[in-house]
């Protein structure tokens, strides 16, 4: 099982065993990782699963699609390495992925 590391804004770390095929957002919800809301359940329609991807991983993830780009443009606290975690699927290749969570998912 690939492992995903979530780091909350206050530095608290959660290492989670993820299931291949599930999104990084849903994995967080399934393991009760605080700091991700995922209001729309993975439809790329709410921007409440925002995360920052560690530099080492940026190039190894699928590129940002147009609908994710639209959402990220309107999202708060974005950085160059911002992603919506519902748009990243768990694969064996992303074992060890580190995502940091923003101060807040809502206004």
């Amino acid at each position: 099982m690939p492992k995903i590391v979530y780091i909350e804004h206050d530095g608290k770390e959660h290492v989670v065993d993820a299931t291949v095929g599930v999104s990084v957002m849903q994995t967080a919800l399934d393991h009760f990782v605080p700091g991700i809301l995922g209001d729309c359940g993975g439809a790329c329609s709410c921007g409440t699963c925002h995360c920052y991807v560690d530099a080492a991983w940026e190039q190894r993830l699928p590129p940002i699609a147009e609908n994710e780009e639209i959402m990220l443009e309107g999202t708060l606290h974005t950085e160059a390495n911002s992603r919506l975690s519902c748009q990243i699927r768990v694969t064996p290749e992303i074992d060890g992925l580190v995502v940091r969570l923003p101060r807040s998912q809502v206004l």
Partner: protein
């Protein structure tokens, strides 16, 4: 032996506390079928979540309100809440660029000022009303601000929306005045769009006018005027009523949890945001979302057939113990977990960032000025339809209830009609009837004729006239029925009490449920 659980969403006595019934549904009948109104309902969190995400088997093409789904109602494409992909996706992605958290952050200080404008005049008062004084004002002003509607036009539009949404049983309505207001508001709205076209600004309306829309039928174009009006109506309609209800629930719920209210007031930076999330979970203003089932699906070994109407019970999902420990307890300290109040899936509430921000601002500004209040339940009015549940009126005493309050508390209703004291007016003649339906007031005209001791009559509404049947009158109670054909064939039974020149009561419209109505002698 306990009786099988039954749930009638239209039973008014369930409005006050529907949660024990929901709990029983989750435990005893997680897939429930209501024979009388012919709909299915899912009440557990996991099932509601699954249903809302299941766009392959669940359609929003007939809307998300049970009565609309049952009636297979269609709406113009731009009413995107009422569509499936790809039409929904085209409008949604356009709106997603316009309604963003960034834009909401940009107007937060302005919205805070609007809130202060509603609350400051109340400082020093013994009482105020969460709905009249805040809920009915702030969300409408916030939407107007976002749309860029100038202050002078806001009043007409707000009054029109108020008139459409806030008419209540027992409160006389001047029908002609209401129609004038609506015409005036819509007229000035058209004017406003034209004006904004020539005077672009940085508001939502300008963006709607200038945006490139990827038409699902191919090509990129600007939005037509009728599409803009439809979109603005959806946005304004959805954003007003629900946020108004959220503010009412804030007044009620915090009053009942004074310890938590004190904690929030003492440390708003830490507790307001989680308190809003908990409030949204605990008392969702929109308790149900309905879908049209497009393929046979199975839950708990039981089939929901293609063509069925399915109610996804958000208000029940939010209390599911499998998801929220002590789900029936309001606790701002609980771990924040997603609730279903904004829905889920592709139709998730696009205005959620605005709702959360308005809720937070309202709570902060309220507690700054009024750290304590007590609800005057004797004069509060709760209403529940299949779209929203919340307070039509929530008067409170600032601080706590004064000892002599029961005698001095004025009922916050419009003055009685002048004729009330002099006994009922003659029945024969013209009555202006308004039914407070699920989509707003439905006007009709009832004309009664006296033939000896009995009455006959005809009722006209929505362009159609029919003879009334089953007329009864005993000097106080009055009842009659009529057959309507729009939006569908239905027998509507009116039953009310006459006082002066006004009849107030309930109109039962078949499976669509009962709604308050008033009839005023013309």
């Amino acid at each position: 032996m306990s009786t099988a659980i039954s749930w009638d969403p239209y039973r008014p006595d369930l409005a006050e506390n529907p949660y024990p019934t929901y709990k029983r549904l989750r435990e005893e009948s997680p897939l429930y079928y209501n024979e009388e109104y012919d709909f299915y309902a899912l009440s557990r969190y996991a099932d509601v979540e699954h249903g809302l995400r299941d766009k392959d088997n669940m359609s929003s093409g007939y809307g998300d309100i049970l009565e609309f789904v049952k009636a297979k109602s269609r709406m113009p494409d731009a009413v995107f809440i009422h569509q499936d992909p790809p039409v929904h996706s085209a409008y949604r992605s356009l709106m997603q660029r316009i309604i963003t958290p960034k834009r909401m952050l940009g107007v937060e200080q302005e919205i805070r000022k609007l809130c202060a404008r509603s609350l400051d005049p109340l400082i020093g008062a013994e009482r105020f009303d969460f709905i009249t004084n805040l809920g009915a004002e702030m969300p409408m002003r916030a939407i107007s601000l976002l749309l860029g509607i100038p202050e002078e036009d806001q009043v007409a539009i707000r009054e029109s929306v108020d008139a459409r949404m806030r008419t209540e049983a027992g409160k006389p309505i001047d029908l002609s005045k209401q129609q004038d207001l609506q015409t005036e508001a819509l007229g000035s709205f058209e004017e406003y769009i034209k004006w904004r076209e020539k005077n672009p600004s940085d508001d939502m309306m300008t963006e709607l006018l200038q945006a490139d829309f990827k038409d699902p039928n191919g090509g990129t174009r600007k939005l037509r005027r009728d599409e803009i009006v439809a979109i603005v109506n959806v946005v304004a309609g959805a954003g007003n009523e629900t946020t108004n209800r959220l503010i009412g629930w804030m007044g009620k719920t915090l009053a009942e949890h004074p310890d938590q209210r004190r904690q929030i007031a003492e440390n708003p930076g830490k507790f307001v945001a989680p308190a809003i999330e908990e409030l949204l979970r605990f008392e969702p203003p929109g308790p149900f979302m309905a879908r049209y089932v497009t393929n046979d699906v199975e839950y708990y070994g039981q089939k929901i057939p293609k063509g069925a109407a399915l109610v996804l019970m958000v208000a029940s999902a939010n209390r599911d113990e499998a998801r929220f420990t002590k789900g029936d307890t309001f606790d701002i300290h609980r771990e924040v977990r997603p609730h279903m109040t904004f829905g889920n899936g592709i139709h998730v509430c696009i205005g959620a960032p605005l709702a959360r921000m308005e809720g937070r601002v309202a709570m902060e500004e309220l507690l700054k000025r009024f750290p304590e209040w007590e609800v005057d339940y004797a004069n509060a009015v709760l209403s529940s339809t299949s779209t929203v549940r919340g307070w039509d009126s929530l008067p409170v005493w600032v601080g706590s209830k004064p000892k002599n309050a029961t005698v001095s508390a004025p009922k916050p209703v419009a003055p009685e009609p002048a004729a009330a004291a002099s006994g009922p007016v003659p029945l024969e003649g013209k009555w202006n009837v308004v039914v407070k339906g699920p989509t707003g007031p439905q006007p009709a005209v009832l004309v009664l004729e006296k033939n000896g001791d009995s009455f006959t009559g005809a009722q006209t509404g929505d362009g159609a006239t029919s003879q009334i049947i089953d007329f009864k009158y005993d000097g106080k109670q009055i009842s009659w029925a009529n057959q309507i054909t729009k939006p569908m064939k239905l027998k509507v039974e009116f039953k009310g009490e006459i006082s002066g020149n006004t009849i107030t009561g309930k109109a039962k419209a078949g499976f669509m449920g009962s709604y308050p109505f008033t009839a005023i002698k013309a």
